[in-house]
């Protein structure tokens, strides 16, 4: 387990890339995360599940720098990470989507995806103004990556459509496209399938598996639907009322009594 493991379907999982150590996060009197530790390995699809209000989104927000935990450390690539701002986390190759979708509604799909390339663009302002050739070459190269991702997610037909006009399911897909455009090492997805119909859910599941398979992207995802989680993920963290109540393969987690209680709504005392 030290250097990784091989999954049932034969994928090689690597070493730990991110480790949460004893994270505690409070909002006034509310303890959203209570002393939680877990790790994420390279190439893995890691799920975080739990009932509403369990603290899942908060955990993702701690990883991506939107929330600052009162206690605990985040380790990235084997070293403790100083407290970073969200944009600095993004610049380290960690991309994310939001539970409530945060897109640039007034911009086209292509423009939205292109913003995902911003961290990869190096030309300074003056180069762009006075040294057309280099900046244009860079723009073209980035445009190609964006177009490839748009093809990959099968949203070519809406490339030029302003995002504000798209239905919910497609917006979720565009948000994934923007995150992928950054070519992230770690991809964080907050309920990527929430509010979708069955068909859209199947598409999204397929895309998530393909991303992991073809680009080798490490993925941490939050999901409500137990069935989806069982199909998609290699390992699962289960949260309830801010505490970690389970951690392991889907099979292990499913047979864990605490998890069963939490999901069946056994009263808490």
């Amino acid at each position: 387990m030290e250097d990784g493991y091989t999954t049932a379907d034969g994928r090689k999982i690597g070493a730990v890339v991110m480790e949460m150590k004893n994270i505690t996060l409070r909002f006034g009197g509310v303890v959203a995360i209570k002393d939680i530790s877990f790790d994420i390995r390279e190439g893995e699809i890691r799920a975080i599940i739990g009932p509403n209000g369990a603290g899942k989104s908060s955990m993702l927000n701690v990883i991506s720098g939107f929330y600052v935990p009162q206690e605990g450390e985040v380790w990235f690539h084997g070293a403790p990470r100083p407290q970073l701002r969200p944009y600095q986390v993004a610049q380290q190759g960690i991309a994310r989507t939001f539970q409530n979708i945060a897109l640039f509604e007034g911009m086209s799909v292509l423009d939205n995806v292109m913003t995902g390339r911003l961290t990869q663009m190096k030309s300074g302002l003056f180069a762009q103004a006075f040294w057309k050739g280099k900046a244009e070459a860079e723009e073209t190269a980035n445009r190609e990556v964006a177009e490839r991702i748009i093809d990959f997610l099968e949203i070519q037909s809406i490339r030029k459509t302003p995002v504000g006009r798209l239905p919910y399911g497609l917006k979720k897909r565009v948000e994934l496209a923007r995150a992928l455009a950054a070519e992230p090492k770690l991809l964080l997805l907050d309920e990527p399938m929430a509010g979708m119909n069955v068909e859209e859910k199947e598409d999204m599941s397929r895309f998530i598996l393909d991303v992991n398979d073809e680009f080798g992207t490490t993925i941490a995802l939050i999901e409500h639907d137990m069935g989806v989680v069982m199909d998609l993920s290699d390992r699962v963290v289960v949260m309830d009322y801010g505490k970690k109540i389970g951690d392991g393969t889907p099979e292990e987690v499913r047979s864990n009594q605490d998890v069963i209680d939490a999901y069946l709504g056994v009263s808490h005392d």
Binding site: F66, A102, M107, D111, M114, T115, L125, Q128
Partner: protein, 331 residues
């Protein structure tokens, strides 16, 4: 063509020229409002401060000389040199960028996630601060600004057009400065559009204007973007300051041009750059034509209130402005 009609054309052209200047000031407001949701009350004072700084640098004035003299008993006022206009403009741009950085670092950064009204009040504070700083650095007397822009009526246009009407018609009277201002404003807007559409900073700026949270998630530093917009707004203020300052001298009343921008914003909407331009032109032409046609009947000086009445009508009948989307309350 009847002389009356020709005069109306001349009035329209002069209105367009005035409108360009209104649009320029409104543009400064729109830039900051779009990117950060802040209504920058200090935009007018920024124009004053920029113009004061430009004159001060050109004349080789010692900044804070009153303060220095009071503290050390010295009598310094001037360095004794003159800085060429172009160099002085570049230095002033530098000062405005430094100002933008300080506003972000010492004021706005501490107010993230505050209510818009709090941010608005912070800019009121900033306006008074800048007004005082301007006095302290460069003194409060009226100054003449001459960066070499042509002034006075264009004889060429007058000659070219004098044949159009009767013998009493001498040709169109259009101020050279207004023509230059219009050209500069058009170039400025084109440059801003190119910046916003074809550079990565421009794309980042549009992203921030659209959604802060999403912008952060793709790696955009809000601090950087806000320094950038305040710098650009400072630059726009400088351009407006140069035009108005050349026209009527650099003095406190320059900061009141911001009041002219308000009706423009109500017409054009607070978030639309084309809106600011078209709004400026409509108000410029509207007030000049109104004065020309009805002014004598209404006792004159209608230019003082026409813009506000027009803006009021817009508020009643089309509150979203010319280009804004219809506001429908979500229920």
């Amino acid at each position: 063509m009847s002389d009356q009609f020709l005069y109306a054309i001349e009035v329209t052209m002069n209105g367009l020229m005035a409108g360009v200047l209104y649009a320029l000031v409104a543009l400064g407001f729109v830039l900051i409002y779009k990117a950060s949701g802040i209504f920058n009350y200090a935009q007018g004072v920024m124009a004053l401060f920029a113009a004061m700084t430009l004159v001060g640098i050109m004349d080789g004035q010692v900044p804070f000389s009153h303060l220095i003299n009071a503290a050390f008993g010295t009598k310094v006022h001037h360095f004794g040199w003159h800085v060429p206009a172009l160099a002085a403009i570049l230095l002033t741009v530098g000062v405005m960028v430094a100002l933008a950085w300080m506003v972000q670092r010492f004021v706005m950064r501490h107010l993230v996630n505050q209510e818009p009204i709090i941010l608005f009040m912070a800019t009121i504070g900033l306006a008074y601060f800048l007004e005082g700083l301007s006095d302290l650095m460069w003194g409060s007397e009226i100054k003449k600004l001459d960066v070499g822009l042509p002034q006075g009526g264009s004889l060429w246009i007058e000659d070219m057009t004098s044949g159009l009407g009767s013998d009493n018609f001498y040709g169109f009277f259009i101020d050279n400065l207004d023509i230059v201002a219009a050209i500069v404003a058009v170039l400025l807007v084109l440059a801003l559009m190119a910046f916003s559409n074809y550079t990565k900073e421009g794309r980042a700026l549009r992203a921030v204007a659209d959604d802060h949270q999403a912008a952060l998630s793709v790696g955009i530093s809000l601090d950087f973007i806000w320094v950038l917009v305040w710098s650009v707004a400072g630059f726009v203020a400088l351009v407006a300051g140069i035009m108005w300052g050349t026209k009527s001298g650099v003095q406190f009343s320059l900061s009141l041009i911001a009041l002219k921008a308000l009706p423009v914003l109500m017409l054009g909407g607070f978030t639309s750059i084309p809106g600011a331009i078209v709004g400026g032109l409509i108000i410029g032409v509207g007030e000049k034509l109104f004065e020309f046609a009805l002014g004598p009947m209404l006792g004159g000086a209608t230019e003082n209130w026409f813009a506000y009445v027009l803006a009021l009508l817009f508020l009643v009948f089309r509150p979203q402005g010319l280009f804004g989307e219809k506001i429908i309350e979500r229920v």
